[in-house]
């Protein structure tokens, strides 16, 4: 089994051996890059089809089911669609608006995609399988690279000289900036507990066995659970997925910041978005869901990379599910959620981690209930916005509460 687990590692080592010693480190890196650049776009291709099909199922329609292997009768249940889409976007005309800032307009998709690949490369996708291992600062690198997304969004939106693009970009940046804070804060809990910024270390720490058959994933602690939920929410927003898809809200902004993109550059944006989603899902998996480790010890024989990709795929399905289910938020709701709910909860979660750390020798049950109470109480308090607690709820268009005194029968009113 170990051989199957380490099959890619061994393969890479053997390949590297074929080259002269001077080149070996470079070749190693190159091989890793190639692998990543092959695997994740592949998953991307798969995801596009899956998403279309799943959404279609949600909406009671068949979805793509025609395209199979060309020139044959094999339909593959429509899974050839990605190839058709890809070919279509590559062959379309690349339109650049006349007023656009051409240079910036050109660079923007690359600023999105390249960092996305870089971010993917730090993920431990299996045991000993990390393309770019920063033993000190892996997570920090990830977040630093993530910053480029915002830049790209801005560049795309601004350079298009289109009001939808600019509005989309502004919304997107505001959203990403706002949610980056809870994102980082919620992952800080894990960093605090593990004491390392390296994703590899973090994952390895979660492979220890608890209660005989469990791997001690962080999600199985009160703070980890809360942190995971917060991280997931923030990740949704970072990836511009529903219900946080305001920057590219089709019904409002056409396609947001990449309204003016077409053809290959559009495909790059598309790719970049999905890669970003994969990356952030991968980080969520590494931080909270034990990375490549199996949930139970008796499942350890399954290769680690399979676990990682399985979890990743579960995440993808989850995101699609969300997209098919939830309505989009309003901008003020979006901001309220980030600043008035998630930020306090994240800070509180940091406190709880501190408490957890210092109560290590306590009775387990007591520790659990203390942490749970500390989290659940404020959750209950924050869960409806503060103002609703202090002010009677007002309805802008509906009539006042039925208890309102009726002075006298009055003539029909023009509603305000």
């Amino acid at each position: 089994m170990a051989s199957l687990d380490q099959i890619f590692v061994t393969l890479k080592e053997q390949l590297v051996q074929l080259f002269p010693a001077v080149l070996q480190p470079y070749v190693g890196v190159l091989l890793s890059i190639v692998a990543i650049m092959a695997v994740f776009p592949g998953i991307f291709a798969l995801t596009t089809v899956v998403e279309r099909k799943l959404l279609a199922r949600f909406q009671n329609r068949p979805g793509p089911n025609r395209v199979g292997i060309p020139l044959t009768k094999i339909r593959l249940a429509g899974f050839g669609q990605f190839a058709a889409d890809g070919i279509k976007s590559l062959t379309k005309e690349d339109i650049i608006p006349r007023n656009a800032d051409r240079k910036v307009h050109f660079i923007a998709p690359f600023v999105l995609v390249v960092p996305a690949f870089l971010a993917l490369s730090v993920l431990p996708i299996g045991r000993n399988m990390t393309a770019l291992d920063f033993p000190e600062t892996g997570l920090l690198f990830f977040f630093a690279i993530g910053a480029a997304t915002e830049l790209s969004v801005f560049m795309a939106g601004w350079s298009s000289r289109n009001k939808y693009s600019l509005l989309g970009a502004m919304r997107g940046i505001a959203q990403m900036l706002s949610y980056e804070i809870p994102l980082i804060l919620s992952s800080l809990t894990v960093v605090m507990m593990v004491g390392s910024l390296s994703l590899v270390t973090i994952v390895e720490r979660q492979t220890s066995v608890q209660w005989g058959f469990f791997h001690s994933w962080h999600v199985f602690t009160p703070w980890g659970f809360a942190g995971f939920l917060l991280f997931l929410t923030a990740a949704c927003a970072e990836a511009n997925r529903t219900p946080f898809d305001l920057p590219e809200a089709e019904s409002e902004l056409v396609a947001g910041y990449f309204t003016e993109y077409s053809g290959f550059k559009f495909a790059l944006f598309f790719l970049g978005e999905y890669l970003g989603m994969f990356a952030i899902s991968g980080v969520a998996i590494s931080l909270f869901l034990g990375g490549w480790s199996a949930p139970f010890t008796f499942l350890d024989w399954v290769p680690s990379w399979l676990w990682f990709f399985g979890k990743l795929f579960a995440f993808i399905l989850f995101f699609i599910w969300l997209r098919g289910t939830l309505p989009r938020l309003r901008v003020d709701q979006l901001m309220n959620l980030a600043w008035k709910f998630m930020l306090p909860m994240c800070l509180l979660n940091l406190l709880v981690v501190g408490v957890w750390h210092f109560t290590a020798e306590w009775n387990e049950l007591l520790r659990w209930s203390l942490a749970t109470v500390l989290l659940a109480g404020p959750y209950w308090l924050f869960s409806r916005s503060f103002e609703a607690r202090f002010k009677p709820r007002t309805y802008r268009y509906a009539a006042d509460s039925p208890a309102a005194p009726v002075v006298a029968p009055v003539a029909p009113q023009v509603p305000i």
Partner: protein
């Protein structure tokens, strides 16, 4: 597993409740009261755990929590309970839900009201469990602040004056105490109360005063007396002892009745607690030197307050003086137990009896007086704010259950055997009479007068022809019965089986008597 820091949890519970009340968005009084009641009952539950886990046979400090806080100032977070503390913690835990359940008709900012009640409880818990002067004092003052606001914001017509008077009085006392204790800190370098008591016993304190504070130009004994008077003032005002009591009737009368329940039931006990926990152990010599005048003050408190109560027309003022009278008995017992005697078993027994009596009296008076003020609260609410002695009459006809339960409480207050008040008084006199015969004999006059004015109360309010105004006076409702019946049942229970309480305090008292020496 380290043990559960139950005392800390206990102190935090009402604070948490206050926070929930302060932050929660519930309008209206009922939900606020229910939340406060819920937290009060939670605290009671925790107290019950504390009592259940308390080793009644040991005089040692239990449930000790000790953490360094400001080491350079000798400040620690040091909480624990012994028999004395646990009794008063229990009392506070009982009274706050009781008072919360009784209160009602708080039209104005009910959430704040109940939050302050809970804060007051936190202050009480803290005061009764803290064993480091520094944070003891914090809680001591913490209990003062909510009380001030409760009186000032929800009190009767003259509440502003009363609240200010209350605050200034107790605060002046506190300041005097704080200054004195700082001097003690300078002399000893510690705020730890048990340690200070030990130093005082070994004479270290006096030596410290001599060497470290000679710059004051006072001799150690004079300085000791000055410090004693400072600390004494703080507690005497709180109890109160007679010349320092003028804040009390006005405060009790003006405070909302449910707050008065806490003021008399629990806060007045803080003073006696201070006497027992701080003054007597740290300044035993000074206390003995001034025993004569102090005893005279105690007797004055007992007798004069009873007479004054007799002259009152306002039920709350009358009961307020009655409270002074009862607490005067506590001090009588306490001072008697400080009387120097031969070191024989007989005298030790008398001292133990006196101190046991003091503690029982504290607990019982807390319960009874709170119940009485609770009844007055109901009376006041039903009569639209009237509470004069002559405003009623013949209520027993229309409200027999009300009259019955309040009558039982009144009899408990005047020390009827079979009800809780008796045993405490008996033990106090059992100890005090041999130790200080004349003071005790004079004090019995207080018992008689108590009977006179309490029976006058019954006669004027409940007996006689029914005042036509109150023809539709409602009897106790089911809910009120649910609140008061347990209190009355507790009075019976403690009257018949005082062992329930004595079990907790007896070893501590024996230990205290041994420590105090002769």
């Amino acid at each position: 597993m380290t043990t559960l820091p139950i005392i800390t949890l206990l102190t935090l519970t009402p604070i948490l409740g206050a926070l929930v009340l302060a932050l929660g968005g519930h309008r209206g009084e009922r939900p606020a009261r229910n939340i406060a009641l819920g937290f009060g009952l939670l605290a009671l539950l925790e107290t019950w755990l504390l009592v259940a886990g308390f080793d009644g046979k040991s005089a040692a400090l239990q449930f000790v929590e000790r953490h360094a806080w400001i080491p350079s100032l000798g400040v620690e977070y040091f909480v624990a309970v012994d028999g004395l503390s646990i009794l008063l913690v229990l009392l506070s835990a009982l009274l706050v839900p009781f008072a919360v359940a009784v209160s009602g008709g708080i039209g104005d900012r009910p959430r704040t009201f109940y939050a302050l009640m809970l804060l007051l409880q936190a202050g009480l818990f803290g005061t009764f469990t803290a064993l480091n002067f520094f944070h003891w004092f914090i809680f001591w003052e913490l209990s003062l602040v909510p009380a001030y606001f409760l009186i000032k914001l929800w009190g009767g017509p003259a509440r502003r004056t009363a609240a200010t008077q209350f605050f200034i009085y107790t605060f002046v006392g506190s300041v005097a105490m704080l200054l004195a204790m700082q001097a003690v800190f300078l002399a000893t370098g510690t705020f730890d109360l048990p340690k200070l008591a030990e130093l005082a016993r070994s004479g270290e304190l006096a030596r410290g005063l001599e060497t470290k504070l000679h710059w004051t130009g006072l001799s150690a004994s004079a300085l000791g007396t000055v410090l004693f008077v400072g600390v004494f003032l703080g507690f005497a005002v709180k109890v109160p002892l007679m010349p320092f009591h003028t804040w009390l009737p006005a405060t009790y009368a003006e405070a909302p009745s449910s707050v008065t329940m806490l003021l008399t039931g629990a806060m007045s006990k803080m003073g006696v607690y201070g006497f027992l926990r701080i003054l007597a152990p740290i300044f035993p010599g000074q206390l003995r030197d001034l025993l004569g005048p102090l005893m005279a003050l105690a007797v004055l408190t007992i007798v004069a307050s009873a007479f004054a109560a007799f002259a009152q027309k306002d039920l709350k003022r009358m009961l307020a003086y009655s409270s002074i009278n009862h607490l005067g008995l506590c001090l009588l017992g306490l001072f008697a137990a400080m009387q120097p005697t031969a070191n024989t078993a007989g005298w030790q027994t008398e001292k133990v009896a006196a101190l046991n009596g003091v503690l029982l009296q504290m607990f019982n008076h807390g319960l009874t007086a709170a119940a009485l003020f609770g009844f007055v609260a109901l009376l006041e609410r039903r009569a639209g704010g009237l509470r004069g002695l002559d405003d009623f009459g013949g209520l027993r006809k229309v409200a027999p259950v009300f009259a019955g339960l309040m009558g039982i409480s009144l009899f408990a207050s005047l020390g009827l055997p079979g009800l809780n008040g008796f045993i405490g008084e008996f033990l106090i006199f059992k100890g005090a009479f041999p130790l200080a015969p004349y003071a005790a004999a004079l004090s019995t006059l207080g018992l008689l007068l108590t009977a006179i004015f309490l029976l006058t109360l019954i006669q004027r309010v409940f007996a006689g022809p029914l005042n036509e105004r109150w023809k539709t006076f409602p009897d106790l409702t089911r809910g009120e019965l649910l609140v008061f019946a347990p209190a009355v049942a507790l009075m019976f229970l403690l009257g018949v089986a005082p062992q329930l309480v004595v079990r907790l305090i007896n070893p501590t008292v024996i230990e205290a008597v041994n420590r105090l020496g002769n």
